[in-house]
Each structure stands twice: as structure tokens, then as C-alpha cells.
């Protein structure tokens, strides 16, 4: 079993980046790897709650993010600075996350066997 980290750093509707990262995270969970997802900067906004892509006529991938819990993906990390920048607290997020300082993010990267930047 490998420690695999998926990194996202694009905003929610920038291309399909967040959706690709979510797919990849779920797949590594399905094949029993020790997978984590790190949301840097504006990627954090993908897990802001009460949003509706359907309001724009687009697929509501915000709902799909909740399937992480069904697949037991519990290691979702967000950047402390991004939380401050976008004035979010954990109650405003759609899934449970661990908030990391920059030095904790550095340590997280060091522990991984593979890191995938999407």
C-alpha cells in the first residue's frame, strides 16, 4: 500500500481540474491505497457548503464531493492561509477536513510515496 497524495490548486470551475482530482482520489481509495487530498489556495472553495452548480445549469459536482465519506476518504487537507483568505471556518465546509499550516503541508508532502498534482 502506498501513501498517495492528490494536490488541487485551481478554483472550482477552472476547467475540470477539481473534478479530475476528485475522481483520482476516489479511484486510489477504491484500489486500497492510503490516499489523501490536499486543497491549496482557491481549490478550498470546492468544499464550501450550500453552493449549487445546478443554478448555472452545470453538473453539481459539489454533491459528488460528499461521496468521499462513503469511500472512507478521511484525509482531506486544506491550507490554513486559504481558510483565512476566503474567510471560511470548518462549519462552512461540506465535508470534515484537517486544516494545515504551511510547515505541516511540507511535512505531509515528505511522508508521501507518490504525489499527483492535478
Amino acid at each position: 500500500m502506498k501513501n498517495v497524495l492528490i494536490i488541487s490548486h485551481k478554483s472550482p470551475f477552472d476547467g475540470l481540474y477539481i473534478r479530475d482530482a476528485l475522481d483520482t482520489t476516489l479511484i486510489y481509495a477504491a484500489i486500497d491505497q492510503n490516499v489523501s487530498w490536499l486543497l491549496l489556495d482557491s481549490a478550498l472553495l470546492a468544499i464550501k457548503s450550500t453552493q449549487s452548480a445546478a443554478h448555472l445549469g452545470l453538473k453539481d459536482f459539489f454533491k459528488t464531493i460528499k461521496t468521499l465519506e462513503i469511500y472512507d476518504v478521511e484525509q482531506v487537507y486544506v491550507c490554513e492561509l486559504a481558510m483565512q483568505k476566503y474567510q471560511l471556518d470548518q462549519q462552512q465546509l461540506s465535508i470534515p477536513v484537517t486544516v494545515l499550516s504551511k510547515s505541516q503541508q511540507q511535512a505531509l508532502l515528505q511522508q508521501q510515496d507518490m504525489v499527483v498534482n492535478l
Binding site: 478554483s11 472550482p12 470551475f13 477552472d14 489556495d41 482557491s42 472553495l45 464550501k48 457548503s49 450550500t50 453552493q51 449549487s52 452548480a53 443554478h55 448555472l56 476566503y86 474567510q87
Partner: protein
């Protein structure tokens, strides 16, 4: 109100850091936030006193309205661009 340029932005402010937008926006220009730029309205507000945000984009993102930013409809969006000399999509 004569607007020279409507600057259309669809990403958070830091996405444009290499361009140094703040120095390119003139006092008779307007900012229009669409798409993911709406999340970051706080960063944009200081750049211009004419700051607009597309209402449908803000609503989908569960963004509450600040004073100092004007929520506009699609029809008002067209009027904003039409009344300006030109637009730039960054």
C-alpha cells in the same frame, strides 16, 4: 458616467498576479467579476470604485452581497459592456 474599459475577470485575484492588474486599471474603468472571480470579491473591491458582479455567478457560489459591489443581471451586463468604450477579458 463614462467608462473607458470594462475589465472582465473570471478567476481569483492571485491568478492574475503576473499581470499586475492593479496598475493597469484606470479611474474611469469598471471591474466586472464573473465565474470564480466572485469568490474573491474582497480582493477586487479596492481596485476600482465601479465594481460589478454577475448575480447568477454569485448566487451559485452562495456569496452574500457586500456594500460597494453591484450585483447585475445578464441584461445589465450587456448594457455595461455596450456603454463602455471597450472590454478586456483577463
Amino acid at each position: 458616467m463614462n467608462i473607458n474599459t470594462v475589465h472582465m475577470l473570471s478567476k481569483p485575484y492571485s491568478y492574475y498576479s503576473t499581470i499586475q492588474l492593479d496598475k493597469l486599471i484606470a479611474s474611469n474603468d469598471a471591474l466586472l467579476l464573473i465565474g470564480d472571480a466572485c469568490y474573491d470579491h474582497a480582493s477586487y473591491m479596492g481596485l476600482s470604485d465601479k465594481c460589478y458582479m454577475l448575480e447568477s455567478c454569485a448566487t451559485a457560489r452562495a456569496i452574500s452581497v457586500d456594500t460597494g459591489i453591484n450585483l447585475i443581471s445578464d441584461i445589465e451586463w450587456v448594457a455595461l459592456v455596450d456603454n463602455a468604450k471597450k472590454s478586456i477579458t483577463w
